[in-house]
Symmetry: C2
Subunit: 407 residues, 2 copies
């Protein structure tokens, strides 16, 4: 097989029955850390993300971003032969990840109870919207559905209108990070003499965990304080919000220590000790005035750089709200590899987010290729399971194995 | 010392020089998994989160949520004796976490180079807004600042107005999860014979990673497609958005497979094959009509339950946009422990988010107490470093050690 990147997870094998986003994110991080990830797809389409735009030379950028560095086998899991292959693979792996709706993997014959019997050493991780238990668990779920139930969606947007939802799949991706974390700790447990175990990771648990204070604040005040969304200005901290600039918007934050520097930065030192603005409570009480002062100052600046330079000179926390085109060309992003150039055999050079886990002992942003559908059917069955060429060809002819080099 | 929960990280010791949120989240997860976490705070205030509301009996709910299960030592790190204690502790720990602005920990004498010399086995994790390298790294940063630079903030809110920002610290908390994941893999590396190493985790890297498609879509189309925020209705998928209901808002999603079920659910089967709505491209082209049809149907329903029941009966993905008061009382949340009752010695019973990492081999949602400032000064110095009572008392009298049982 192709060389895996020299990294922490060398020597671990992962059976990856995930699709679209949360699950593939977990196994993608493991591939970037050197695990041998065998992704299982089903004919004729494979992972539905293979048909998501944009495409180039038949390859989906979406699929590529989430699946670089994984081997692809494509088989019909409804056939006895297909299931037998999966069972045999399970005997050889360290980790098994799936993100079907709860119950589906069990009906395929690979519930935790079954998997644990097949291989007591395996760490199995199920990823779902609501988790494997509880009254919502059987409902269909996507990122935004879990976001809505968690209370996070209600915390985003204008307080006098409908919530807004982020046009990023932060729930799926961060849940994939949660799953990778749990798998890492479960492997650590195994290395220290423990057994395999089952991990139940959900978008709802991850999203709900993002309430750093909303839940306990509501609880401790017996419901008297029910935090809600606050638009583009924070309801309880002032100034903390977005201001129109020539080029778009800038975010400006001044907590107590930053009020004096902010006043100096905008050339209004007389406001530092103004009793109307002397502490956060006063500034919140006079928020419309504070916001108007800052907006008027922004309006007077020749460009966004001038706003940022003046504030940065006083170390006032500030940022331009970057558009995607600005993100991908920002010097910090490129120097740090937060946005990286990926070279794909079919896509060519394409920009993608960098690997967010950085280890001093290993290369960051490994060169890895995405696979076409079923690209590693022969390699996996021969190298891992010892099937000979005739047996593999018979499985192919019988429609158990499938491949599509055009993907 | 008090018994640690029986869990995966038993036997590991963490020196935790973190404050407020991203760092404390990483060490909090480790405490929940049984690590001995020694949190270092500075007199007289300690972690600034101790003064964040709401308080009860002198204790902050905010501090408690992020710091349950950690021991607290409070010392003056500007004194030679304070630094000597930290150096001696570093010789005994497996993990060292800090989230000061880049450079600060080095000026305290505990850069990675110094720490690695003190203890080559230690895994050191630095958490920052922009990372330890690159032109932005020295700027002051908070969650929203990194969110703005990452391009995520620009993807949230009404397309014709300013962005909105979420009233949850999802960046800090999910970056803490990234850090915990990286630490887990670094410990795994050590258990397999490797050395300690340095981990550079940033909010900007984590946030940028949430762009599941925006960056490669912009890149593959050579900038012709620049995704941006889309308010409360998705610009490229229809229907996917929020609808006003009697009680608030509901989120409704129908991808291709769900259009027919949705039409049946709302009693409009004739729309299934209507050429204006037959596929997503057509529905997006007629989005205002589709949205109006769904809103009119919602308006006719007697209550939110009726909307959800009709859609769920056809397995159309949907959700109420829950307010915090609804989140904390939802049966699924409570049954699953996604929201849990924490019993704190000073706060009493208070609701908090549950532990998002669930392991079949270990108890979920461990009972853990938060510490008052400096509560474990004596215990840590005597048990871990072998100081006798006279030496500890001398350090206390000299102002090197500090405690405040009222916190």
């Amino acid at each position: 097989m192709a060389a895996l990147p020299k990294h922490i997870l060398n020597g671990y094998r992962v059976l990856d029955m995930t699709h679209v986003l949360a699950g593939p994110t977990a196994s993608r991080l493991m591939a970037e850390m050197g695990a041998e990830v065998i992704k299982v797809e089903f004919p004729p389409q494979g992972d539905v993300s293979r048909v998501l735009p944009a495409h180039k030379n038949g390859r989906s950028g979406y699929y590529t971003q989430q699946n670089r560095g994984k081997r692809s086998i494509c088989l019909n899991a409804k056939t006895p032969e297909g299931r037998a292959i999966l069972t045999e693979l399970l005997k050889t792996v360290d980790v098994f990840i799936e993100n079907f709706a709860p119950g589906v993997i069990g009906r395929m014959g690979f519930s935790w109870e079954a998997v644990h019997k097949i291989n007591p050493r395996v760490v199995m991780c199920s990823i779902s919207a609501f988790g494997q238990s509880g009254p919502l668990s059987s409902l269909p779920g996507f990122d935004y559905i879990a976001q809505a139930y968690s209370g996070v969606m209600g915390m985003i947007g204008d307080p006098n209108g409908p919530p807004s939802f982020p046009m990023v799949s932060m729930g799926d991706i961060s849940t994939g990070v949660h799953a990778a974390a749990a798998i890492g700790f479960a492997l650590l447990h195994r290395e220290r003499g423990g057994e395999g175990q089952y991990l139940d990771i959900s978008l709802l648990d991850a999203y709900t965990g993002y309430h750093e204070l909303n839940i306990h604040l509501y609880s401790l005040t017996n419901g008297e304080v029910e935090p809600t969304r606050s638009g583009s200005q924070h309801f309880a901290v002032c100034p903390l919000g977005l201001f129109k600039s020539r080029d778009g918007y800038v975010c400006i934050i001044a907590l107590q220590n930053q009020w004096a520097p902010l006043c100096r930065a905008i050339g209004r030192p007389e406001l530092i000790d103004d009793p109307r603005y002397c502490d956060n409570a006063q500034r919140v009480a006079h928020a419309s005035e504070v916001i108007a002062i800052l907006q008027a100052w922004c309006d007077q600046q020749p460009d966004d750089e001038a706003i940022l330079a003046a504030l940065q000179a006083e170390r006032v926390p500030c940022a331009p709200v970057l558009r995607i085109g600005q993100v991908v060309s920002h010097p910090h992003m490129l120097e740090r590899g937060t946005v990286r150039v990926v070279k794909d055999p079919k896509l060519g050079e394409v920009l993608m987010p960098g690997m967010p886990l950085r280890f001093s002992g290993f290369e960051h942003n490994q060169p890895l290729d995405a696979a076409y559908l079923g690209e590693h059917n022969e390699a996996v069955l021969s190298e891992v399971l010892g099937y000979d060429a005739a047996r593999i060809e018979a499985l192919r002819a019988a429609g158990v194995l499938y491949a599509n080099p055009e993907t």
